[in-house]
């Protein structure tokens, strides 16, 4: 459930129902942007069932790797501690 895929907003159409074209790699689809009023062309949004449900936070996107770095450092520290 809840298949959500990140795509890049290419353009927006303002109006009673905010719409926009969103690119998923080389695939482009029309998507409802009413729930992401802040999303602008160039932003990435997570799309589910034809609706953008969230804007992707580029900073938040790096946290996984930061976490992994920390893990590595911890492991090194632990490794360093052992002998």
């Amino acid at each position: 459930m809840c298949l959500g895929i990140p795509g890049e907003v290419l353009s927006t159409v303002e109006g009673p129902l905010r719409m926009g074209r969103v690119a998923f790699g080389q695939v482009i689809k029309e998507v409802c942007l009413a729930y992401v009023p802040e999303a602008q062309p160039g932003d990435f949004v997570v799309v589910h069932a034809g609706f953008a449900i969230s804007r992707v936070d580029p900073e938040g996107a790096l946290r996984v790797f930061a976490y992994l770095e920390e893990l590595g450092e911890t492991a090194e520290k632990l490794g360093g501690q052992s002998p």
Partner: protein
């Protein structure tokens, strides 16, 4: 694809796996809530990389699996009416009601169509003014805003030949039902990331505290899942039980305000029966009175006829994490994706189907 490929790297995944092996000292059982997470786990074989003793259970986060037989029977009754165009997401078509499924009423002549979005159903209603277009609104908090918008737009545009069979369900009450079970096996949750993009994380604090269970809001890519598992295990090993956010790139703690407002305007919280699990109070969304004219149940006067679930099916136990699918006596013999006894054998995200399709043979 950006924000997809980065989270599938084998090298990073193995670093996570190593870290997990290093961190785990005891057996733990985690449940991923969302069927989308289940799907990614089996697709990438993540479960096979985990340290022995670290077990993943598939949760109830698949609307196909939990929509009640009663609701399905209503859907079948409405779809069979002459003049109705019944629109549904693809996977609902194979779920058995008391006696039939949507595919078989379609084969018997009903006009049942697969849509990608509730807005596609709305567009159909505009294109077919002489027909009654009904959208089968299943799904969790992630999907409900889409249904809400469709009804809202139908009212705004004056489309009276559109209606919703509302069957939306809410995640936190189901998690509480699982936690409250005295036989529970679940030590920690990977909460459903996309549900949280809408609803935020606030609902989980009380649960984590009350049941002393770690809850990590988790995304859907391999690295997301591995990190979520690691965060959960770390809490367990440390004896903590907090709500944490692994899926920070998409989930903000307060959630999506415009979507919540729309949900609030269109729906109200109702009791719902979950397939396999039974009734859970305040666990669903139904249309408010202001939208009664777009309520398919009202429009077609379908009454609850108390659908029967298959007596042999143990999907309730599967959904609550009490049983692994192969432990069900019907699994793979009387119950297969071609002849499903329970909904969990139907959806590709259903726990039983996932086991059957991806794990039936042991070894490569």
């Amino acid at each position: 694809m950006r924000y997809v490929e980065e989270y599938r790297g084998a090298e990073e995944a193995h670093r996570f796996v190593q870290a997990l092996h290093a961190r785990v000292t005891r057996p733990w059982t985690l449940m991923e809530i969302c069927g989308g997470q289940t799907h990614a786990i089996v697709r990438f074989g993540i479960d096979q990389l985990l340290p022995p003793g670290l077990t993943l259970l598939h949760g109830p986060g698949c609307p196909v699996c939990v929509t009640s037989v009663e609701t399905l029977d209503k859907a079948l009754a409405i779809a069979s009416r002459p003049g109705v165009v019944f629109c549904s997401f693809g996977d609902m078509l194979r779920v058995p009601g008391s006696e039939r499924d949507l595919l078989s009423v379609k084969a018997a002549g009903a006009d049942v169509r697969i849509v990608y979005s509730p807005m596609d159903a709305l567009a159909l209603a505009e294109r077919l003014p002489g027909r009654e277009v009904v959208f089968f609104a299943v799904g969790f908090e992630t999907t409900a805003p889409a249904s809400a918008m469709a009804v809202h737009e139908a009212r705004r545009r004056g489309l009276r030949n559109f209606s919703l069979l509302a069957a939306h369900v809410l995640v936190p009450p189901a998690m509480e039902a699982i936690l409250a079970d005295r036989n529970r096996r679940v030590d920690g949750f990977l909460a459903a990331g996309h549900v949280c993009t809408i609803m935020g994380m606030e609902a989980y604090g009380p649960l984590a505290r009350a049941y002393r269970v770690p809850i990590v809001v988790t995304g859907f890519e391999p690295l997301d899942l591995l990190q979520g598992i690691h965060m959960c295990v770390a809490q367990l090993e440390d004896g903590r039980a907090a709500v944490e956010n692994q899926y920070a790139r998409a989930v903000r703690p307060p959630g999506n305000a415009p979507a919540q407002a729309m949900l609030q305007a269109v729906f109200e919280v109702v009791h719902r029966t979950w397939r396999g699990i039974g009734p859970i109070p305040s666990s669903g969304l139904g249309l408010r009175a202001a939208y009664a004219d777009w309520d398919a149940e009202r429009k077609f006067g379908v009454s609850a006829v108390g659908g029967r679930e298959d007596a042999e099916c143990r999907s309730g136990s599967v959904l609550r994490g009490l049983l692994k699918p192969p432990e069900c006596p019907a699994f793979g013999t009387r119950c297969t994706p071609e002849t499903p006894l329970g909904a969990t054998m139907v959806s590709s995200e259903g726990a039983c189907a996932a086991y059957y399709r991806y794990r039936r043979f042991t070894g490569p």
